[in-house]
């Protein structure tokens, strides 16, 4: 089983975060939700491993 990678993979973490924030700028709440949903689906498919996704869901759900 592949483990979810939780150490940084991004050469420039600030730029990556900023890119996500930027993508949401000037969007309404509904549009933002739509954008997030599409992003999740695209990235989930890119990951392509249901076990990794399960771990990501579990980690994301802690403290909800």
């Amino acid at each position: 089983m592949t483990d979810l990678i939780t150490t940084t993979q991004l050469a420039d973490p600030d730029a990556a975060y900023n890119m996500l924030v930027d993508a949401h700028r000037d969007l309404s709440e509904t549009q933002s939700a739509d954008l997030n949903a599409r992003l999740v689906l695209l990235l989930a498919n890119h990951v392509g491993d249901i076990c990794v996704l399960e771990q990501a869901v579990a980690l994301a759900k802690t403290e909800l």
């Binding site: 939700a33 739509d34 949903a37 599409r38 999740v40 689906l41 695209l42 498919n45």
Partner: protein, 556 residues
């Protein structure tokens, strides 16, 4: 006993919304059991009593009778054709009905289709083709009004001396005893009791028998309401399944259009959870909705009803001598056409086992495998049906957002198209391993252990065409690919030799079964693959048959 005969008119009545009369009316006839009970107070005893003459109960009765058993089948109604229910019948169901001699009129009458299209707004986002593969006797799917299917089953029953079909015989009480079941049956002439070694409860989703045993029917109820309408019109839409998400003519909801015989079209319109059944079913509300969908009003309403859907099942399918089969055991939403289809597949799984038990060739414990295999199938069907219904009718705003994201991406990406789910159409279950013998050597091809064997075109020695499924026996079949050292016979099974008496000229059998010279396949009476070997070995074949009959094989 009284042979059932259709006394009603065959013409669809085309009445106003919800007011259509029964299409076929059958007569009540007094049975000898009533005389016996009246005279002696002692119930007559039968090996098998089936409760419910729906598609599932009739399939059980026909299959049992064709295996030489006598069956009584009781139904509280005396007519079929009220309401509009199933329209899509799947290949595996048709194969079962073909074995029972009833598929031909269905396929002739039915609309054959294999293409489904999913639209978002006005745009086609995803299209599927159910069976790009040829070389199967039965089509991938047909659309046929359930009442026609039921009519052909009733007609088939009339040809079989072993089936005693009793209309207006309503089961009102049962006593499930260690050695059988006592039933109280209400008729227009009063009540009588009968005893049954086995009671097969095919009495539908509301199953009174289930209630009489105090059994729970647990699962999920969906809030959304759906308007189901059958309209009559001549239109040149193709015979394809068209499903719309958020169409311009029905904003925010979904819609389905599907062709049936007699120029009748099935329309499903999602109405949301708040819809008022009384109001929505009024023709003055239904007609404009459909008019917006079709773009004209040259249609006649045949039937309209409002449904909400459930996915539920009973915990166990076998309770002593009472066996649940069809909707009485499990209920699904119609998206995916899994109700009647899976019920007929329950019936075929049940009957050969019950037949062996009745003939003393298998222990009653074999019935446990019916529970195991068909509750596995029910879970699979409920899973698919629940996912489709959740996709069509998202439960929360965020579910809707995710669903809409899939639809949005589907027009641009292939992966999202694969997620669009307006109903994954009914496929037969591949049973878990209990009755099957694990492959000792690998096999490729589309035949899978535990699944029904795929059909293939074959040729007989006299040059005439045949189909693999037509060549299989009513009992077990051992299929052997000739390699010069053919076995003469196999105990407890019919032997068929490919390349000896039937020939695989197209190579389709070879490809589907990964057949090599000497390869040997053990096929159950319900045409599911029980075992396969690269070479014939009498003991291994005998063990595989014993295992499939629920016995511990001699050698392991």
């Amino acid at each position: 006993m009284a042979a059932p005969g259709a006394t009603g008119s065959a013409a669809p009545a085309g009445m106003g919304a919800g007011a259509r009369k029964a299409l076929y009316q059958f007569g009540y006839a007094r049975s000898i059991d009533q005389d016996v009970f009246a005279a002696t107070g002692a119930p007559a005893r039968h090996a098998v009593v089936v409760v419910g003459a729906g598609p599932v109960g009739m399939t059980v009765a026909i299959d049992l009778a064709m295996r030489g058993n006598e069956v009584v089948i009781l139904d509280d109604a005396d007519r079929i054709g009220e309401g509009s229910r199933a329209i899509c019948f799947a290949q595996r169901t048709l194969e079962i009905w073909d074995r029972l001699g009833v598929a031909r009129p269905m396929v002739d009458k039915g609309v054959t289709w294999q293409v489904g299209k999913n639209f978002l707004h006005d745009d086609l986002v995803y299209q599927f083709d159910l069976l790009p593969e040829d070389g199967h006797k039965m089509p991938a799917f047909i659309n046929l009004q359930q009442y026609y299917a039921e009519l052909y089953l009733v007609e088939r029953i009339a040809e079989l001396p072993g089936v005693d079909l009793r209309w207006r015989n309503k089961v009102t009480a049962i006593d499930n005893r260690p050695d059988g079941v006592r039933l109280t049956v209400e008729t227009p002439e009063g009540a009588y009791d009968i005893d049954a070694d086995w009671l097969i409860a095919c009495d539908g989703a509301k199953s009174p028998v289930r209630d009489m045993l105090g059994l729970e029917f647990r699962g999920e109820v969906f809030d959304d309401r759906f308007l189901i309408a059958d309209v009559k019109m001549t239109a040149d839409f193709p015979a394809e399944r068209w499903f719309w998400f958020d169409p311009p003519f029905h904003a925010g909801q979904s819609a389905l259009l599907h062709k049936q015989p007699d120029d009748v079209w099935r329309i499903d319109l999602q109405l949301g959870p708040e819809a008022d059944p009384e109001v929505e079913q009024k023709p003055e509300n239904v007609v404009p909705r459909i008019e917006r969908m079709l773009g004209h009003r040259n249609f006649e309403l045949e039937w309209v009803s409002l449904y909400s859907f459930q996915c539920r099942r009973i915990d166990r399918f076998v309770h002593g001598h009472v066996v649940f089969c069809g909707d009485s055991a499990h209920q699904v939403s119609p998206f995916g056409a899994r109700g009647a289809n899976s019920g007929v597949q329950d019936a075929e799984n049940l009957v050969w086992k019950l037949d062996l038990v009745l003939k003393g060739e298998a222990d009653a414990a074999l019935m446990e495998s019916y529970d195991a295999e068909r509750s596995f199938a029910a879970d699979e069907n409920i899973g698919h049906s629940t996912r489709s219904t959740d996709f069509i009718a998202p439960k929360t705003p965020m579910e809707r957002t995710l669903r809409n994201a899939v639809l949005n991406l589907a027009s641009r990406t292939q992966f999202a198209r694969k997620m669009v789910n307006s109903g994954r159409l009914s496929m037969p279950a591949t049973y878990p391993a209990d009755l099957a013998t694990a492959d000792a050597e690998p096999f490729s091809g589309s035949a899978r252990l535990g699944a029904p064997v795929p059909d293939a075109p074959l040729r007989k020695a006299d040059g005439s065409d045949t189909w693999l499924l037509d060549e299989l026996a009513d009992g077990f079949t051992v299929l052997h690919v000739a390699n010069g050292t053919a076995p003469n016979a196999v105990d407890g099974a019919d032997l068929r030799i490919i390349g000896g008496e039937i020939f695989d000229e197209t190579g389709q059998f070879r490809r589907r079964f990964d057949a090599t010279p000497g390869a040997t396949y053990v096929i159950r009476p319900d045409q599911h693959l029980a075992a396969r070997f690269r070479h014939f070995e009498a003991q291994k074949v005998a063990d595989a048959i014993a295992r499939a009959k629920g016995r511990v094989p001699v050698t392991v």
